[in-house]
Symmetry: C2
Subunit: 197 residues, 2 copies
Amino acid sequence: MSPPPADRAAQGEALSRAVWDVLAQQGLEKLTVRAVAAAAGCTTGLVMHRFPNRRALLLHARQLLHDTTRQRVEALEAAATSPREALRAVLRQCMATDPETITWSVVWVGFLAAAVADAELTDMHRRNNRAWRQRVERLVAAAAPDWPVDQVGAVALGLIAMTEGVAALAAADPAAYPADQQERMLDAALSAYGLSC
Amino acid sequence: MSPPPADRAAQGEALSRAVWDVLAQQGLEKLTVRAVAAAAGCTTGLVMHRFPNRRALLLHARQLLHDTTRQRVEALEAAATSPREALRAVLRQCMATDPETITWSVVWVGFLAAAVADAELTDMHRRNNRAWRQRVERLVAAAAPDWPVDQVGAVALGLIAMTEGVAALAAADPAAYPADQQERMLDAALSAYGLSC
DNA sequence: ATGTTACCGTAACGCTTGTTACCGAGTCTC
DNA sequence: GAGACTCGGTAACAAGCGTTACGGTAACAT
């Protein structure tokens, strides 16, 4: 007999996707084991055989969300032809400009709210967010090599907060924050900071 | 006999404060009627006599939170001596720079996550947020009277998203986002947009 | 003084939750 | 082919949830 680890990982990924779906469509209060199982098309038995408890399921889904976004960001960064284009591309995908990224942003807000009650979820968020911040600071420094460190930090923080904030706002009210307004906002900010491509 | 409506309102306010406390300290998942009653120092009987159900309690707390912030913002705006100072003061109090505003931001994120599952909570958020956005657009237009409309909109959106975003980030990781860094971020943005006082 | 009424705590209801125990079906080993 | 083992579904459990019904108490009106 062989417990193929590939299937286990694939099932864990499918269940994490089910966690995202429930979180995005039904909210944090309805994020139950039964709802996740229904979204994944299986029973609660499979869920509880794959994860020791509900918390472990949420933590895995959270970590997988972060890993996925990190890979996407790294691909964008590698594909860019200049530091400023890399910065813009990376920040652009952070906003909520289409149904998929809107869903992601809803899930992100959900995990953020869930982190209030869960120390490990909080730690996860902080680790991921600090890494994300360092990445953007590095990109800003590369896009403006002659800036002093504190200016790099202040501008990077402004850009991070702006994109993360508009993603949350667009997630809660997509009609009021269409994609083109978010793009114009980003371009206006990059232009004001002197970081236009 | 007289059912004094002042006491009723005061009790509703106290219960709403209890809702905020529970939401900030225990998170959305632990926001139960019993937890609210315990935080308010009463029993669930009083809560359910004051509000028809749990949802009404949350909606009232949400609306009261908005009304309170609106009054505070209007006072700041009225006390400012110039349009640019008004803009800066209003944006500054939106961030999470001290324990009180950090708590408010945690509560804000909690309500935002709860709005995913509740249409009325969503509507409330959209109404409040659109009014907030119009206010900032008006302040930006007053601070830069010669700007075209779309530039006013893009800059106002950038400022709103930035302050709201940094408030959420600071709420989740206060140590990484101290008050002075948020202030520097705001000043750097206002300066870059050409809106310094 | 007494009946009435509003107020609010107590206790219970039905329901949903996370979690556990059990059990059948399929699969690999020898 | 028989047996052991893994997988996953079913059903049950206790606990906690929102909500409801009931009872006692205090204040008012007459």
